[in-house]
Structures are given as C-alpha cells and as structure tokens.
C-alpha cells in the first residue's frame, strides 16, 4: 500500500449534455488491488471506468495513472488537452476489456492479439506472433489461432480480447462488464482467466454484476450510486456491514432476482 497509487481519481465530474453522470468521484487503487465497481444500472460505473483510460473525457477533477494526469496537461493554471501521442503512450500500459469483446472480425484470433504488438510496440512480425501465441496459450486457446472471431463462442472471443490486452504487458487492466454479454455457461471460463490474473498480482478494476466473483476475488468493492461512490471497502465491509440504505436495497434486489 505504499508509493504512488496505480490509479487516483479526485473529484471527477462528467456530464453528457445536461445530464451529470459523475458527481465528484474519488477513487484510489493501489498496485495489485482488484477493485470491483458495482451499482445500479445508470449509476455511472462504465463511465467512471472509461474515464480511467480517457475513452471518455472528464469535465473536471483529476485522474492520475501512476501519478501522471491522463487526458490533460495542466500548465500555469490552465488545462489543455494532452497531445494525442502522449495519450496513446499512456494507453499502451492500460488494458481494457469490453462487454462486447470488440475483436476485429477481419483478423484471426492470433492476428487480433499480434496486431498492436506490430503496429504499436513495433515488434518484428515473428516476435509479435510468438508472443501472441504465448498469450493465446495462456487463456487456453492455442487451438484457435487461425480461427476468425465469427467462429468463436462469446467466451472464447472474450478470452482472445483479454489475451490481446495482456500481450501489451499492461500495468493495469480495466474490465467493462466482461461477462454481461455471455451465455451463463460461458461466464465461468472468462472469470477463471480473470481469477488467475488477479492471483498473479495484476491491478484490476472490474465493472461487474458477478457478485460471486466480486466477493471471492476483489480486494475492494466500490458501490456507485447516481454518480457518487456510496460505499468503498472490503467485500465484507460493503456487502455485509454497510449501513448505506442504497447498498442494502441494491443487494436485496439482487438476492431476490437470483434466488429461486
């Protein structure tokens, strides 16, 4: 828990037109933390996550990655957009996994994983392919190297997407509802990969509705409600001991829906 936090958000505000989605969010994530963001739909979880790699711009406040402000450059009291090249450089070390996988359909599984190694890291093709192979093996898809995304199941596509991010050797991984688009029987294989990542000490921020995963893997759970963090602590503290009425209500709805 020492040193510069991997991610530090301070008083982050974000609005879409008239709708303010984030009302002054503060969140600190240390290295090897696994933070699960939970909360009702529309509470701003995805927006918050997307501010961390500046896929979404924030209107005020600070988002720092390893101490460095992302998206903007503050000079002499004035804030300017960060040059594109600097932003690209920062994103190289922040992996992101999307709800709908977002693989490139015109490339094979191996091609998807090797692409950024060649185009961003500028590795020679042979080396990139070698590393991509190793990444696919790591997510258990060595037999799918030459397969195009359309021929993969959702779970397999999501594992390729994780391999694609991991190939860049990120210091931080962001997961935006990685299992929400999957058939129930395919959720497990993706969570298994995420579990092993967490066990290896990867710093992870995960927007999820998988409470079982949150309880067993997260070092912390942050509960978001209407653009504010309403509770933040260990899974036990948030899920069992929180007095916050919104958290209680959310969990009650969750239990009702998931009991038979």
């Amino acid at each position: 828990m020492s040193g510069t936090p991997a991610v530090e958000m301070r008083d982050v505000h974000k609005r879409f037109g008239k709708l303010e989605v984030l009302h002054g969010v503060g969140l600190t994530v240390h290295r090897s933390d696994v933070v699960c963001l939970i909360g009702p739909s529309g509470s701003g979880k995805s927006t918050l996550l997307r501010c961390i790699n500046f896929m979404e711009s924030y209107d005020s406040g600070e988002v720092r990655i390893d101490g460095r402000l992302i998206g903007y450059r503050d000079e002499a009291g004035r804030r300017r957009p960060m040059p594109g090249r600097d932003l690209q450089k920062m994103r190289e070390s922040i992996g992101m996994v999307f709800q709908h996988f977002n693989l490139w359909p015109h490339m094979t599984a191996l091609g998807n994983v090797a692409e950024a190694l060649v185009r961003v890291r500028k590795l020679p093709q042979a080396e990139a392919t070698g590393r991509a192979r190793a990444m696919l093996a790591r997510v258990g898809l060595s037999d799918k190297e030459t397969t195009y995304p359309a021929r993969l199941s959702g779970g397999q596509q999501q594992r390729v997407a994780i391999a694609r991010s991991l190939a860049m050797e990120p210091k931080l991984m962001l997961f935006d509802e990685p299992t929400s688009a999957l058939d129930p029987e395919l959720v497990g294989e993706v969570l298994q990969v995420m579990r092993s990542l967490a066990a290896e000490g990867m710093t992870m921020i995960v927007v999820t509705h998988e409470m079982g995963f949150a309880v067993s893997v997260a070092t912390r759970i942050a509960f978001l409600d209407r653009g504010r963090i309403a509770a933040d602590g260990t899974p036990r503290a948030v899920l069992h001991e929180s007095e916050e009425p919104r958290v209680r209500q959310f969990l009650q709805t969750y239990h009702e829906r998931n009991s038979f």
Partner: protein, 219 residues
C-alpha cells in the same frame, strides 16, 4: 451490313478505346483519391470547412457533367487554367466522381462499429493506424458494391468527353460514321466495347467484394 469497315478502321477503334480506358482509369483514380480526402476532411470538427465541402458536393452532384466539363475546358482559360482536352477530361471526371465517392466513403465511415475503434484506441494505436488497419477493412465490406457502381457510371460518362474533342471511342466513332456512312456497324462496335468495359468493371467489383469478405467464409 458491311463489316469490312472494321478492317480499315480498327487502328482508330483501338486508339479510341485506349483513350477511353485512360480517361476512365485516371479520372476514377483521381475521383477516389479526392473523394476520400473530402470524406476525411469532413470528419474534422471544423464547421466552416464542413459547410464548404458539403456545398461543393451539392453543387457537383446538382449540375450535369456536361456543363462541368464545358466550364472547365472552355471557361478554364478565363481564370488562367489552360488544359489540353484529355487533361481537362480526366480532371472533370475526377471532380465529378469525387462528390459521389466522398458520400460513399462518408457512409462507410459511419458503418464502422464504434467498439472496434475503441478497442484499437485502448491499445494505444494512432489514428492513422486505426484508419488503415481497422476502419478501412471494416468499411470496405459495406461500400465495395457502391464503389463498383460508381466506377461503372464513370466508365460510361467518358462518352461525354467527345464534345471537347478528347479522341476517345465516341469521338473516333463519329468520324468513322461520318466518313463511311456505316452507322449501324459503328454503333454496334461501340456498344460492344463499352459493354466489355462495364463487364470487366463489374467482375472486378465482384472479385473485390469476395476478397474483402473472405474472413466471413473462413472456417
């Protein structure tokens, strides 16, 4: 029917056909390049530039090609633009085509799934890499049929270039018909050659379509 006129006129036919092909290829290449550039510029968030480009597209699409051609060839010298007939023909074809190509590319950009671009951005790819490796392959699937259509239309618009004395097929045919009075044979040969050209273009289009959608059939 007197097919012996072909024996005498085949060199003219051939050179006319060559000129037609030259104008078509060069005009189409110029039109695609210009259209793509316009589509790219329209994506920049610069309002006055967007209005200007939109206005240009509307004017070019809203006036007959024949008028644009006369404007450039006969009106050009008034503003110091002196082009030879073939040059003027190619430039006019390119400008005419670019307005349509720009719209095709605009539609293509809109058809690229946002998620594929975001995935590329999240890995730190530059916009030019994303354009070449993600946007273009994704948009081509959607726009190759429209591009082929436009190429076919342009191939036939080359006929109009005869009015400014570009020595293309139509121009040669007119002199052949005037000299021999063999109107039917002349028109027949011309129709066959244009059909040949269009057939080649549509085959090319099908091959391109097959190629850009190859991943969809891969096992």
């Amino acid at each position: 029917m007197d097919f012996s006129v072909y024996l005498q006129y085949w060199p003219k036919l051939l050179s006319g056909f060559g000129e037609t092909l030259l104008c078509w290829f060069a005009g189409a290449a110029f039109g695609i390049a210009l259209g793509f550039a316009i589509a790219l510029l329209r994506r920049l968030n610069i309002k006055p530039l967007q209005w200007l480009l939109r206005a240009i597209i509307e004017v070019v699409r809203g006036t007959p090609f024949l008028i644009q051609l006369y404007l450039l060839y006969d009106g050009g010298p008034a503003i110091g633009l002196k082009l030879q007939a073939t040059q003027a023909g190619i430039v006019a074809l390119g400008i005419y085509g670019s307005a349509y190509f720009a719209e095709i590319f605009r539609a293509g950009f809109a058809a690229v799934p946002v998620g594929q671009v975001e995935a590329a951005q999240s890995l730190g790819m530059s916009s030019s890499t994303i354009l070449l490796r993600v946007r273009l392959p994704a948009m081509l699937v959607a726009i190759v049929p429209a591009l082929t259509n436009m190429l076919i239309i342009l191939s036939k618009e080359t006929v109009v270039l005869s009015v400014i004395t570009v020595p293309e097929l139509m121009y040669q045919m007119q002199s052949m018909a005037a000299e021999t009075f063999a109107a039917f044979e002349t028109i027949l040969a011309m129709a066959l050659l244009y059909w040949l050209m269009v057939e080649a273009a549509s085959r090319l289009g099908r091959a391109a379509e097959w190629r850009v959608t190859a991943y969809m059939r891969a096992a």
